[in-house]
Assembly symmetry: C2
């Protein structure tokens, strides 16, 4: 059941793709993705139409076309009988009922992003990325009072990618700080964290998985040994329990899932608009 | 026309949110976002239903409910007449026509992410994040042969967030390397880049905007002066032109838009599935 799938948008196509992918995971089979972002003129639309029709002729199966186009002229190219793909018009299905609900016409604005140079939210995201980078892996204890959250956990438990994701997608200033064997010997949190215990959120991980990840980085090292990983994870969890730090296991979670969980705990009010 | 908007999902809700946001930007007004991820049981669904109905009673206006729920039982809670919100069932609208098109039933699988510990694509994303971090701001010239792209440009032209976005969202190993006044005096690319000229992609920026950004970091500095920014940008563009490096202006673009443009140039074939 292999199919080619087009994602057509007048903007980046991220919406078309995110949504289209989610729908397609509901089906078995291999899908070949063709991204066609920034389709904002009739000429570009005609070009993509040609590709779609060639695909149909060549594969003997209609490609699926997910589109988020707000310009009526551009969209009409794919709505015409000349288009031999199976078109899923993502906006059309929802914009009309909402015009009804709100009692206003939609503005047909292209793209989900306003001019970043003028957007406060965008500015916050970039600031958060800079903050998270500067506070990666305990690099700096300065300005920790500005952190929205401080992720703690043993080395390679997923702190860095999660911090960056929280910053990039949600504008959250996420620092991260490693818990290392010396901390476990002292049985006390790293000193810079002591004033900010309430902002800490822990990541733990299955020792077997941790050992596997560490072996990829330093094969055969003591650092990667299963017994060492066991001890570190156990000590880290004991410390977090003692300090009253909430944690989750990153073992079977994507950074998106970890971030969503953290966000719902630390900023249930966090708005997006 | 202010409204409360619920995003309900059995997974992270990223799809519901990305899509719902795109739709809502088509309308004027303020929207208050309520995220309700991981709604995977009847009990949790009932709880959210209660919130929705309270909202309707309290605000005198129906909240809009974007939902991506694949479990039929959970979904039915919001489809019943008991639900006083205006429900936009995002999967329903597209899954049924695709079942038809493909001639198979959908599998009702929850969430867009497979177990990350077992997914090659997820592994690549994490590797790419590590690579991009290690090669941020010209920190390391090692393993540049592994880079999918090397972003070049003057300080604060947007290289770092773009590199991290490319890595995180697309699994692209994106290094970045600054072009600095010393390079312009020598009129030659930084030495570590010379073997990899073809992998370089430039970011430029309007000098006025650059000066503004740099003033935020180092107010009143020479580094931030408009005249200095003018000279650097001009010299950088001259260098990129001379070296045959494609570039774009990041001034009015979000990292998503920059990344999409770069991706379509360097990896038009990049697949997502």
């Amino acid at each position: 059941m292999d199919r080619t799938v087009f994602f057509i948008s007048d903007g980046t196509g991220i919406t078309a793709e995110t949504f289209g992918q989610s729908i397609l995971t509901q089906f078995p089979g291999q899908f070949r993705a063709m991204r066609r972002p920034f389709i904002d003129s009739l000429a570009k639309a005609q070009q993509v139409l040609h590709e779609i029709n060639q695909c149909t002729a060549h594969e003997g199966k209609r490609p699926v076309v997910f589109m988020t186009l707000v310009n009526d002229n551009v969209r009409s190219v794919f709505e015409s009988p000349d288009c031999k793909g199976r078109v899923m018009d993502m906006f059309h299905a929802f914009v009309a009922p909402l015009e009804d609900e709100f009692g206003v016409k939609s503005n047909h604005r292209v793209g989900r992003f306003s001019d970043p140079a003028k957007s406060a939210r965008y500015h916050d995201r970039i600031e958060a990325i800079n903050f998270s980078l500067a506070h990666d892996d305990g690099q700096s204890a300065r300005n920790l009072e500005q952190a929205d959250v401080i992720l703690v956990g043993v080395s390679r438990s997923g702190k860095t990618p999660t911090s960056l994701y929280l910053a990039m997608q949600h504008g959250i200033k996420a620092a991260n700080y490693p818990l290392i064997p010396e901390d476990f010997d002292r049985k006390v949190l790293p000193k810079p964290l002591l004033p900010w215990r309430e902002k800490c959120f822990g990541l733990s991980i299955d020792p077997q998985r941790l050992s596997q990840i560490r072996h990829e980085r330093r094969p055969g090292s003591n650092y990667a040994s299963l017994i060492g990983c066991h001890q570190e994870v156990e000590a880290a969890e004991a410390m977090m329990r003692r300090e009253g730090i909430t944690w989750l296991s990153s073992t079977h979670k994507s950074i998106e899932e970890i971030a969503t969980t953290i966000l719902s705990q630390i900023r249930p009010d966090r708005l997006l608009f």
